[in-house]
Amino acid sequence: MRASATFALMLLALLTGALTRADPPPPLQAEQLTVAQLPPASPHWVYVFDEAFDNEIDARVDLFDGDSYRRLGQIDAGFVPGVNLSPDGKTTVVATTYFARGSRGTRTDVVEFTDNTTLAVTHEIVLPSKRAETVPSLFNVAYSADGHFVYAAYITPAASFGVLDPVHGTVLGEIDTAGCQLVIPSGPNRVSSLCESGRMLTVTLDEHGHESGRAMSEQFFDTDRDPVFAQGIPTPSGYAFLSFLGEVHEVDLRGPQPVFAAPWPLVSGAEKGVWRPGGVQVGAIHRSLGRLYVPMHKGGEGTHKDGGTEIWVFDLASHRRLARWQVRPQGLAPVLAVQVSQDAAPILFAATTASDVAVFDALSGQLRHIEKHLGQTPWMLLN
C-alpha cells in the first residue's frame, strides 16, 4: 500500500506540473499612463494646510478624504502662504511669495487660483510685495460672500489690504487700515480688521472695489488682559473669536457695523486660568447643529500656542459644555487645529503636534482613524 500511495502522489505531482507548464498565467497587459481624476467633491474632504516649517519655501495643501482616509492630491503653496476656499468650494486661493532663485532673489508676491475639480492652477494675480507673512488663519486671504472680490492682507508692517478681481485677474486697489490687520470678510462688499486697540474696523466697498465708507467699533476685548486669538471661527451671522482665557466673543457682521454679543466663558470660575484654549486653529463650529469644538489644555500665561490635550464640545445656543474628549489616551499628541464638516453626519478633523490628522465622529466623539504624518506641520484645516 505504501508503494501504491507513493506512486499515486508522484503521478499527481507530475500531472500538476504538466498542467502548470501547459497553462502558464497570462502575461501582464501593457499599461496606460494616466493622470488620476478626483472623485466628486465630498463634505468629508478636508484641505490640510502644511506650513512645512523646516523648509518654509515649500508649503503645501494636502487634500484628504475623511471617509476613505486617502490623500487625493496636493496644491503647492510657496512661502508662508495664506490659503482659503471660494464660497462655492470650487476654488482654492493661495496668497504666497516666491523668490527668483528658489530661496533668495527677487521676491514676487502672488495670488494663485486652483480648480478644486482638477487641482490645477488656473490663473494668478501678482501683488505688490506687501503680503502678510504670518501664521495661517482664514483672514490672510479671503473671498467676499458672493465670490466677486478677493481680499489679501498686507503687512509691511504697516497694515492695509488689497482688493482683487478674481475673474479678471486684476488688483483693483489697496485700502489702508490704519493699524488694524487681516481681512475678515462679510457679505458681498465688507471687510473687517482686528485693531491693536481691541476694536474692529469695517470698510465697505463700492462695486468697483473702492472704499465707500468705514466704521470703527467700540472696544470689544482687552488686548492686554485677555486678547482674542486672530483665528476667528465662522458662525451663521459672522465669526466667534476665542480669548486666551477662554471667553467666546461672537460678532455679528451682517450689518455695516459689527454687533457684539455678550461674551460667555468656556471655563468655569475654578477652571479659569487653569484650562484654556490653545494651538493655531483654536476652534470649529458646526453651524446648523450649533456645536463648538475647542482644543483645551492645562497651562498658564504664555501657553496659548500649546495644543489641546482634550477637545471640549459646547452648545452655542445654551453655552453648555456637552462633552470633554481626551485625546492622549487615544494615541494622539496635543491638538493644534480642528475643523468640522458641515453635513448631517459630521466628521471632526484634528491636526496634532506630531503632524497626525485624526478623524472623529463629531457627534459621538468616537475616533475613527489616525492618518500618520499628514504633512510636516499641519496647522490649519479648511473645508
Binding site: G105, E133, I155, A159, L182, G302, D306
Partner: protein
C-alpha cells in the same frame, strides 16, 4: 503707501519704546537698533519648544530653555552657525523687530530682549523653539512673534532668530 509704511514703522518703534516696562531700554534699544538690531521672526512653531528646564539648559544658548528665549519663535541662530547675538554667515539681520521681556534667573532681573530674525537663506531647520511669554496676536505687531520680521529685507526669506539683550527693565515699570 511707502510714506504710510514709514509712518507706521516710526509709530511702531515709538510704541515699542513706550510700552512694556521700557523707557530706559528705549534709548538703549535705539542705539542697538541703529547698529543692527531689530526683529524677530515669527511663524508659529507650535509646540516645538524642547522640554528641559534644568539649570544648565537655562544657561545654554542652544537650548530652548535658555532664559532669554522666553518669547522667541523660530530656529535658534546659535544652532545655525551664529550665536544668540549674531546672524549666521551669509545672512542679514532684519531691520524691524519686536521686543520681549524675560527674567534672568542668574541675577533676578527682567531684561528687554530684541528678537531679530536673520534673513536671506531658507529655514535653518535646527533647534526649532517656540515660547510665548507675554506674546500677543498679530494685531499687536510690536508684541507678536508670528510675523516674518524679514518682511522688509531685500531678501526676505527667514533663516533663524537671535535674542539681543537691550538692557534691564527699570524697577517699578
Amino acid at each position: 503707501m511707502r510714506s504710510l509704511d514709514r509712518l507706521f514703522e516710526e509709530s511702531s518703534r515709538s510704541l515699542a519704546r513706550r510700552t512694556s516696562r521700557r523707557s530706559l531700554l528705549a534709548g538703549l534699544g535705539q542705539i542697538l537698533t541703529g547698529a543692527a538690531l531689530l526683529p524677530l521672526l515669527p511663524l508659529e512653531r507650535g509646540n516645538r519648544a524642547q522640554a528641559a528646564g534644568s539649570k544648565a539648559a537655562v544657561d545654554d544658548p542652544q537650548s530652548c530653555d535658555y532664559w532669554r528665549y522666553c518669547a522667541i519663535d523660530g530656529f535658534l541662530c546659535a544652532c545655525c552657525g551664529g550665536t544668540t547675538t549674531s546672524c549666521p554667515p551669509g545672512t542679514a539681520p532684519s531691520p524691524i523687530t519686536w521686543i520681549g521681556t524675560c527674567h534672568n534667573p542668574a541675577d533676578g532681573r527682567h531684561y528687554m530682549v530684541s528678537y531679530n530674525d536673520c534673513c536671506g537663506k531658507t529655514s535653518c531647520g535646527n533647534c526649532a523653539c517656540n515660547r510665548n511669554e507675554r506674546e500677543k496676536p498679530t494685531y499687536r505687531p510690536s508684541r507678536n512673534n508670528d510675523l516674518n520680521w524679514c518682511m522688509a529685507n531685500a531678501d526676505s526669506n527667514y533663516h533663524c532668530s537671535v535674542s539681543v539683550v537691550l538692557g534691564p527693565v527699570p524697577p517699578g515699570t
